[in-house]
């Protein structure tokens, strides 16, 4: 299982939790795992999120690998000027 840290503003959609455990080998599976565990997260994930895996910020790629012991943080979708 991979521990996924949410930003605290998402607690309301994740049953009050800030860390959710999901079965995942890729960033895409992290996101689908989150929605499976907490369907209310669908809207925010559809609107766009980024994922930090061991400090590396994945802006959008779903195929990026994730390990069991990876440190995974959900982040708001990155964009720029």
């Amino acid at each position: 299982m991979v521990e996924v840290h949410l930003w605290s503003g998402l607690r309301a959609q994740a049953g009050g939790r800030e860390v959710v455990e999901v079965e995942a080998k890729t960033v895409g599976e992290v996101l689908s795992g989150l929605v499976a565990a907490h369907p209310e997260l669908q809207e925010v994930i559809d609107a766009g999120v980024s994922v930090a895996v061991d400090g590396r910020i994945i802006a959008s790629g779903l195929t990026e690998p994730v390990n069991e012991d990876s440190e995974v943080y959900l982040m708001q979708r990155l964009k720029g000027g």
Binding site: G9, A47, R56, I57, M75, L78, K79, G80, G81
Partner: protein, 765 residues
Amino acid sequence: MALDEYKPQKGGDELEQGHAFKYVGTRPDRPDGTDKVTGRARFGADITAPGMLHGAILRSPHAHARIVSIDTAKAEALDGVKAVVTRADFSDAIQPAPGMAGEMWNVLENVMAGDKALYDGHAIAAVAATSALTARDAVKLIEVTYEVLPHVTDVDAAMADDAPVIRDGTADKSVPPGLHPNVVRYHQSGHGDVATGFAEADLVIEDSFTTEATHQGYIEPHACLGILGGDGKGELWCCTQGHWNVQKICAALLDLETSQLRVTASEIGGGFGGKTTVFIEPVALALSRKANKPVKLVMSRAEVFRATGPTASTSMDIKIGMNKDGTITAAQGVFRAQGGAFPGAPMEFTAMCAFAPYNLANVHQVGYDVMTNRPKQAAYRAPGSPMAAFAVESVIDELCNQLGLDPLEVRLKNASREGTRASYGPKFQRIGLVETIEAAMAHPHYSAPLEPGQGRGISCGFWFNHGGETSVTLALSEDGSAQIMVGTPDIGGSRSSMALMAAEVLGIPYENIRVTVADTASLGYNEVSHGSRVTYASGLATIKAAEAAVRELCRRAAAKWGIEEDAVYWEDGYAKPSGPNAGDFEPLHISKITRRMGATGGPINGHFEATPEGAGVSFATHIVDAEVDPETGSTKVVRYTVVQDAGKAIHPTYVEGQFQGGAAQGIGWALNEEYIYGADGRLQNAGFLDYRIPVASDLPMIDTVIVEVPNPGHPYGVRGVGETSICPPLAAIANAVSAAAGVRMRNLPMSPPRILAALEEQSGG
């Protein structure tokens, strides 16, 4: 050395140990230089088409009004008028949705108003006619009946209970119950326990700050030429930071198939984020479809100010606790940002960037995205971050003052490093903040004496940077020269950087490479030029495409020599056998291989398509000296030094240029620039005379120090450089002005009347 050991394939880390570059890091002339100094370069408004019509747009004079009726009959009857369009001429398949999920609808609504005019300047209808003057005359003949509604333009006022509701049901699920419907998105993040942290502090300072909306201020107004037929096939020429994005949005707004619309990016006269979306492009296409003729549409400067993206304005509360030794024990921030009549004010970046430079055990940040009756905000260079730095770094400065500590030493003591848990969650990889602070401390500017009436301010700043979808194709010519097609418009010399990176891999002179910004029909998808991603992502793709070509070149040499492919390596433009065991062959120059490429297996190209995810965040530290005239309240920036981590500077002159440009824009934001709305909700300063951006006589030379802490996510260590440079200036200048004036400035811009008022309040109060 076998091919796969070829040095530039390794990450930034390896390169740090003394890799010698031949082309990267040099400062050649830019390939488009002659075009740009002779007036030949073709920008958005510089193109024409046979039989072309000219368009003009009618805009709302009201900040908030229901559109009861639009009568276009008189305009249509005017001699020379060929088409009039309203919202009815755009797709009705796009539905609104809460928050950012409704962004396509938001863009459509902004391009052409639906039921309501949402801000002064909102497009209501458009005309195409045989001349620009006729089109403008015709616009005046369109009769619109409005029912004027109450409006709100201030972020704090828009959150108050009695504020008019701009569009109910726009809030997404992130917004906690009980807030005004104008609050449409909410962000909250952090770690540790700030209450405990504040209790441990020797000194806690809490303060509130505001910044006004500023415009990106590119000198080239939006311009485009659209051609669309009833068959759904079209062409569009426009100045944009991302033509694939324009293609995608225009296709959606006009019910076209994306591939049937070919979009070509012109030379672009500045963007800074403001040209990452569309405003007039779908309108030109809709007019063209209706008139069945090409239509050119060019914005006036007043239209640019009234109807294209300024940045968000903000209102912020900051609380920071510090120990006597300078350690920050806890930090918290509340950031309210308005981004006009649509969701999207970048408050989550304001929140996430605010405390990123510091290693904090206890940190908490909250952001509110608020709607007002103003134009839809657009990205502006590190969107959201400069305001955060202004508020946070002002409080840190005040803490340093009251505790008698050196401001740079305090930053160094608390600085984020590799492995620090960022205020926004994950741990940092290799970063260069400490190096920028140390370089600032060592810079002669920091120890130079100040004249009476002057103050010195410093600030750190942070930005994420971005990778994004990228395609690059490289084709070799029979003479061994190379052409590269990239899809990221060149805003500040990026073609030069691409050519340098390709030269490095191919081992051929920089001058033998031509880089073209390809149109949407000539190359695969490319995300917008934003997030400082061009040199990083297009650069990475260029390197990979060149490496693919090199592999093929080696293969051809191996076949000619009759040896194994991996017994050939590439060096300085030659294929060479890798040592005595591979056999003894004369090195083969690239031109010897390309001359016969048709007969030895066909053309040699390299290409690369990916979404590189390793942009690498970046930090900067700025030092500024400002002089305040207590009589007039006017401020002069007398000395400015930018220190920033570029990862690796591909073309150092252009990196310096980005540093200087960001600092100058920051100076404008800090001292003069602001959107001023009257009580009637109308923009009062829609021109460069009253919206004053810095001019040459306002500024000193801007000194730069390029720090290079390689980004492990790029083959040469590149980090984005374009945006971070605008993060520290607001704060650095505010700290300098506060020191010079002897009063803390909490509201930007620090225009002369504001400074005089602050001085008066201090002496009177």
